[in-house]
Amino acid sequence: MDKREVCEGIAAIVGTDNVTDLDFDLHAYSRDLSPARGRVPSMVARPRSSSEVSAIMRYANRKRLPVYVRGGGSSHWAAWLPVHGGLLLDMYAMEDVLEIDDKNLTATVQSGCTWYKLDGDLRKRGLTYLSSEMGGPAMTVGGSIIKAGGGPYGTTKFGLHGQCDVLGLEFVLPTGEIVRTGSGAYLGVPRFRRYGIGPDLTGLLIGSEGTLGILTEATLQVRPIPKAEDFLSFTFGDWNDVMEVGDAITRPFGDEIAFAFEASEESSALGSITARIHLYGYDNEVLEYRKRKLREICGKHKGKEGDASVSREFFTRVTAGLKGLFDQGVWHFTGCGMIPIRRLPEFNEVWREIIARKYKFPRCTFGAWTFPRGWAIYAHLRYSEPDELKMILTISNEMNKRFIEMRVVPFGIGGPDGSLPFIRGRLGSYYELLRSLKKALDPNDILQPGILVE
């Protein structure tokens, strides 16, 4: 590949100021949040529109140029690191809130728009996006959808947002065609409903880790800001009790009692589990009813009520970011994924075995949050680079391997530096279909090669 020639080709599409092959710029894109080793792209471009993305993909096909796609850059499992070099698209320049429709309660954004920006704009109109990942202000809507992300915020009520609230997408196929999904697939029809004619092609992109198309726009269901919200906190001594609480909260399917229910345990204080609860309601009576019910449920399962400000701090800084983030070292999430509602304690037991008994690692959290009829679980290690990097990778690989053997459904897979080595061979005919789809949509295998689909 003649880098200079390729840069000129891309510059003809996005302008010279929006493409770079300077070493200084490239190294700035070489890592995500994970301890995965750095991967330096050959060049980086910043498209500003779907048509620019389309033109880039047509050009990349002619040149057989690998293209990787990055949102806010904060993936936890090497989801976009350019394992084969090539062009990295920084989608952050596509950050506009395109439309807020307060009649249909929808918001349409460019994929590089952050949750922070979207929620800020919505709140000016009395609306909010209630279901969102935990994370910092850099996290983009597109990045969350493409990895089907989720965090504890609002998940108990609404599920993982990357799957539940998306009403339609616009994306660019690996070959450059621009596609719209859901009701928005019809010319002139707004994206008010995810399911249009035929299969759910919105779902095709959700969780695709960028391998089947480049997300350029998304329309989301939004909600009025609730009139009332409150927080509760409880401590538990046993994950079996936490599991019972999660079961009871999500049993009234469709009318879950909490907006968010999350619990965690530190490796330095085994047996002390803190649960954080966020409640909301459009009416104070509803809120009070839910609080009363939650107190009953937690009390029944040996929960002791604690300081609610812990929960308030945790949940109100969702998009602004949590304080004291790296006080114990930089983060690595491992063993993350989803499990059925009755299996929580067995995963905690394996975590204890690996973290506390085998490696005696003092800076690790096991946590879980409910979604309707299931748990999302994680182990969260804090470490120092470069001294503890090797040990962290050893622990992390073991945890991933064990959890996947126990059939956790991982949030994402990523590439060879992520969970792909542990998933390989476990997906059967589904994976073969995915491969066929990938081949049909991306015949030259240029979009995110090496990620998710081998």
């Binding site: 929006n18 070493d23 190294h27 700035a28 790296f326 120092s384």
Partner: protein, 386 residues
């Protein structure tokens, strides 16, 4: 140990969370705003710094260009206080010191700055005696006074109205002051910002010796860069556990006098003004409220806030030496700030920094703005009964 390697551990603390970027391109980091790429923001710069430490980045004119395109406004440092508490400003300055120490591909403007300060001891290479041109016969200076006024290069050599206003306020409120006269050298801040630590140390040593020789205990400054350098950097540069004098910014002194009811304000025509926080006075020194309270005490003035204020304030574009090295980038940042000021309903911007006044004023025409930009001292002086 090279300048950058002493920060190796701190650089590794970056968890790449992206707090430093803010929630949208134009929210937090002016360098990211003008460059567009991740390398503009602190998260990218920490990865680049790591690559430099590990010998994976070669010195080239392009590399130097990126290193000198940070406004050192401290917005990322403030954001990072919630995350890894990395002193990003120190590290980015150390990156500059690292490349400067290699002496290769240094931007011409940076070298010119060093030469000006080495030969004329001011950033404009003006004749040293021009520093005192603002002292007219009707301004009373008492060379025995315990308060020493240190106007700084930009105020005394480009914006004499700031220095004159300050001196006349001091005369009006009967606060005696002395000066270093032609013995005042640049505080050294532009050298620290551009990685020229040895010369900065020489400037610091000279100024401290001159101040000590006069036996003064209080130094008054108009410039936030001088304020931060004299109050925070000199002790580090010279290895002092405690400085032999304290440093006061004009906004602090005038606020103190006004709070005691001793500032003889007169009724001013009704005007809506906004206050622009200079980075080195606000985020990097923690002075936010004194200037605001002072403005609010002036009869007739209504203070309104821009959307981004105090620790969230957007840089004027004049910081970090970018105005000297890449003036067009400094302009782009100023235009964004002027637009923000227009949208908050103000007819004028008050700042407490001559460089902010310089950069914002210089871009008014390009912005098509009719705002007036004044220094706090000018505003206060114009509102006094004389």
């Amino acid at each position: 140990m090279s300048p950058l390697s002493s920060y190796a551990q701190e650089i590794m603390k970056c968890g790449r969370c992206g707090y430093c970027l803010g929630g949208y391109t134009a929210e937090t980091c002016p360098a990211r705003y003008v460059i567009g790429f991740e390398s503009g923001a602190a998260r990218g710069r920490m990865l680049a710094a790591r690559a430099m430490l590990e010998g994976r980045l070669e010195n080239s004119p392009k590399l130097i260009q990126r290193i000198y395109t940070c406004f050192l406004c401290g917005a990322c440092k403030t954001k990072c206080e919630d995350a890894a508490r990395i002193d990003t400003v120190e590290i980015i300055r150390a990156m500059r010191a690292e490349v400067f120490s290699q002496g290769i591909n240094i931007p011409e403007e940076v070298e010119k700055l060093g030469t000006a300060l080495e030969t004329k001891r001011n950033i404009f290479a003006s004749a040293p005696e021009k520093r005192m041109a603002w002292i007219t016969p009707d301004i009373h200076v008492d060379e025995r006074a315990e308060l020493l006024y240190f106007p700084g290069c930009v105020s005394s050599l480009r914006f004499a109205e700031i220095v004159e206003s300050t001196a006349r306020i001091l005369n009006t409120i009967y606060v005696d002051f002395s000066t270093l006269g032609v013995s005042e050298w640049c505080c050294g801040n532009p050298l620290l910002l551009t990685g020229q630590y040895d010369l900065a140390r020489e400037m610091a040593r000279h100024n401290v010796e001159e101040i000590k020789r006069r036996g003064v205990r209080h130094v008054l400054v108009s410039c936030p860069g001088c304020y931060r350098t004299l109050s925070q950097e000199y002790s580090k540069l010279l290895g002092f556990a405690e400085m032999p004098f304290d440093v006061i910014h004009t906004s602090q002194l005038f606020h103190h006098v006004a709070a005691e009811g001793k500032m003889p304000f007169r009724k001013m025509p009704q005007e809506v003004l906004t206050y622009h926080d200079p980075c080195e006075l606000g985020r990097l020194s923690g002075i936010y409220e004194e200037p605001r309270e002072l403005i609010q005490q002036i009869p007739g003035i209504t203070l309104v806030e821009m959307d981004r204020n105090r620790e969230r304030a957007w840089c004027c574009g004049g910081g970090g030496g970018v105005k000297i090295v890449y003036p067009s980038q400094a302009s782009k940042v100023a235009l964004a700030r002027l637009k923000e000021a227009e949208s908050c309903g103000a007819t004028g911007i008050v700042s407490g920094c001559p460089t902010c006044k310089w950069n914002l004023n210089e871009n008014l025409a390009a912005a098509g703005s009719r705002l007036r930009v004044v220094d706090l001292s000018e505003l206060v002086y114009s509102s006094l009964t004389r």
